[in-house]
């Protein structure tokens, strides 16, 4: 039973993953991975990852996507695009990492205590509400959620930044926020995933 359910979820994950990846121009290149490891060795953070970027594709091939989604790998991607520009098969690894992050959030698979999804969600809320990000708001909310004590540690730095005029306390809301809201609502109605090119 359990195995069956896991199997079903893997299928679902795989379907959504492929649909989204193929929607990226050149996304189908993921099929051409030759497992050479250029991505892993180009990655500045792979040493800290549970699975190297190369293994992410290997896991996808082996039908073990959910293992990757639960790992710390995707949250350590710093979007530096080194893997993407060096990949000899033209695979857009960074975009794949973004997609995996989205999947992990959507299917609620992110590791317990992983901070990155929290930041991303706060960031999105912030932007959706104001159209822009307020750094101070973001940081303080983040710390409240993940590490309330950390706020105390941050105070001296924040004060320094404030004194130097480098931090804005009151968030600015853009005038066209209604416009933004309409666009985003329309996007939601158009489906979460852009879907593959037809024809």
């Amino acid at each position: 039973m359990l195995a069956e359910r896991a199997d079903r979820r893997e299928h679902l994950l795989r379907d959504v993953f492929l649909q989204d990846i193929y929607a990226i121009p050149g996304g189908e290149k993921i099929k051409e991975c030759i497992q050479c490891g250029t991505c892993s060795a180009s990655c500045p953070t792979s040493y800290a990852m549970d699975y190297t970027p190369r293994e992410v594709i290997a896991a996808f091939r082996a039908g073990l996507l959910d293992r990757v989604l639960k790992s710390n790998t995707i949250w350590l991607c710093a979007s530096c695009y080194y893997c993407t520009v060096r990949c000899p098969s033209g695979i857009k690894l960074t975009d794949i990492m973004y997609e995996l992050k989205r999947l992990a959030i959507e299917f609620d698979l992110a590791q317990e205590g992983a901070k990155a999804p929290v930041v991303s969600k706060l960031f999105v809320d912030n932007v959706n509400k104001n159209g822009r990000v307020s750094e101070a708001g973001l940081v303080s909310k983040f710390l409240l959620k993940t590490n309330p004590l950390g706020i105390l540690k941050m105070v001296p730095r924040a004060i320094k930044l404030l004194i130097r005029g480098r931090m804005q306390l009151i968030p600015h809301r853009i005038e066209g926020i209604a416009e933004v809201e309409k666009c985003l609502a329309a996007a939601a109605s158009l489906g979460l995933h852009p879907g593959p090119s037809e024809e």
């Binding site: 050479c36 490891g37 250029t38 892993s40 060795a41």
Partner: protein, 652 residues
Amino acid sequence: MVEKIGVYICHCGTNIARTVDCKAVAGYALGLPNVVVARDYLYTCSDPGQEMIKNDIRESGLTRVVVASCSPLMHETTFRRAVADAGLNPFLFQMANIREQCSWISENRELATTRAKAIVGAAVMRVEFNEPLEVQKVPMNPNVLIVGGGIAGIEAALQIADSGKRVYLVEKEPTIGGYMARFDKTFPTLDCAACILTPKMVSVGQHPNIELLSYSDVTDFSGYVGNFTARIRRRPRYVDEEKCTGCGQCEQKCPLSVLSEFDCGLGKRKAIYRPFPQAVPSTPVIDREHCLFFTKGVCRVCEKFCPRGAINFEQKERFIDVQVGSAIIATGFDLFDASRVKEYGYGKFPNVITSLEFERLTHASGPTVGKIVLKNGRTPESVAVVHCVGSRDNNYNEYCSRVCCMYSLKIAHLVREKTDAKVYEFYIDMRAAGKGYEEFYKRLLREDVTFSRGRVAEITDVAQNSSENGKLIVVAEDTLLSIVKRIPVDMVILSVGLEARRDALQVAHIFRISRSKDGFFLEKHPKLAPVSTAGDGIFIAGSCQGPKDIPDSVAQGAAAAANVLSLIDRKEVELEPTIALIDEDSCSGCKICIGLCPYNAISFDEPSGHAVITGALCKGCGVCVAACPSGAIEQQNFTNRQLTAEVEAICA
């Protein structure tokens, strides 16, 4: 007379029958005007298939035949011959291609069958207007042009010359020998390249049937199979090949040293030089760019010391025309420019070198007399060999260069043999398909080379700890362990891939050869005609067709030679009679066609006031036919009537 047409629909096993309803197409054909026989058959090109057609011709008195099967490039000749065997003129046969351009491109049986009917219909309507034609036969000139004096060209030249035919061997460089002359050892046997190559080079130089035209290139190639004319540019050596004995006095006395191209700039040569001591011909050349006489108007030392008076500063570039019946193009390859992979630091880090530079380093008569040393003269304590540089990479060349895995193993072996260095091989996949190759790989595994599976991501000199200080750090994932390794080494050897020569496009234009997507020359058929090209009488051999190792290049050289000799033995060649003809009565004498003909085959006959086509010069492009405002020109087997019939049948 009413024509009797026979139509044969081939199943080609399931190749056609899987997507085309062959029975239905045959049924459809039988309903077409003048079709008296229509059959479908499993393999029409087989003996029984051909017999069936012959029988029908004899017994049903067929006057026209249509076979719907594969591309005419595959079997047109086969069926023409069969038809001729049964007494019908071969040009009364028409082929319809329902495989390559029909059954293989579609999954939809209905659409493919409809399409097949259209194709067959067009052929049936056209064949009605086919006319009996006579194949033109012209004598085959037995002389052969070979372009490129690497191992493939050398092999071809010797095979042909040994059979008593005359060979013109054109080589761009001052000496023949190609890349092989620059290698130290050859894999997997580790025999010395020079030991097996130089005897062949000497044979070429001495062969009475080979005219070696080195330091030369072909600038124009015209004519048709059996009768080509090659224009060859002979660059001035400033040394008389007839007088020179190759004693080498001039080289010794020349006061000016420059970097040697043959040694990849690692060693020096003189301004008058032979690329290497065993060069063939042994006549040196003067490098005009550097020679003090040419640059400053002084010196002439070589002239003074030449015991034979062979130096001639007055030599000029000259052109010669040679008549040949066939040609073999064996122009070889270029090495991938390693500096394009910026993250490998070639050109930036002195001790990152290419595999060819390593060959020169380890070569007994190379710049270091065979010592493997760093730029500072010290012997390396650790060496990394990096596979797939520029190969298997969408950013550069997508294909596998085929030879690098094996030569990389050879490099590892030589380093292990000559130094105490630790050797690392970074590979993606070990490709050791070849006789004795896998065994060679095993041997290297036994020789304690460290193999690391994973492509190198970068080579850097930014140290992260003291063990990396002053070293080149090779960064790669060990994909078998999923660990990213940083390996500090003294020397990195980049196993650069092979690519089409920079001048391949130019050569392709001169010889009218097509090129494949990767820029290499395109063979007529990848499996069945690997050394032929689309142009009759023009063959290719060696790495100009795609990366090859020495055994394969030699095999191709010999194969091309066999093709050429078989052509020559026929004594005459048949030319397609698809030439243009002018109907003198309709010609208005407007002369439009004359300027259009690329072969100067059309002239104007003043007395009669109309244009005349010289059949032997016409190649049958049909440009004049389409251009003639009075419709006075027709192309045999591509008449307006025939083509219009096809158009009408398709559109009906």
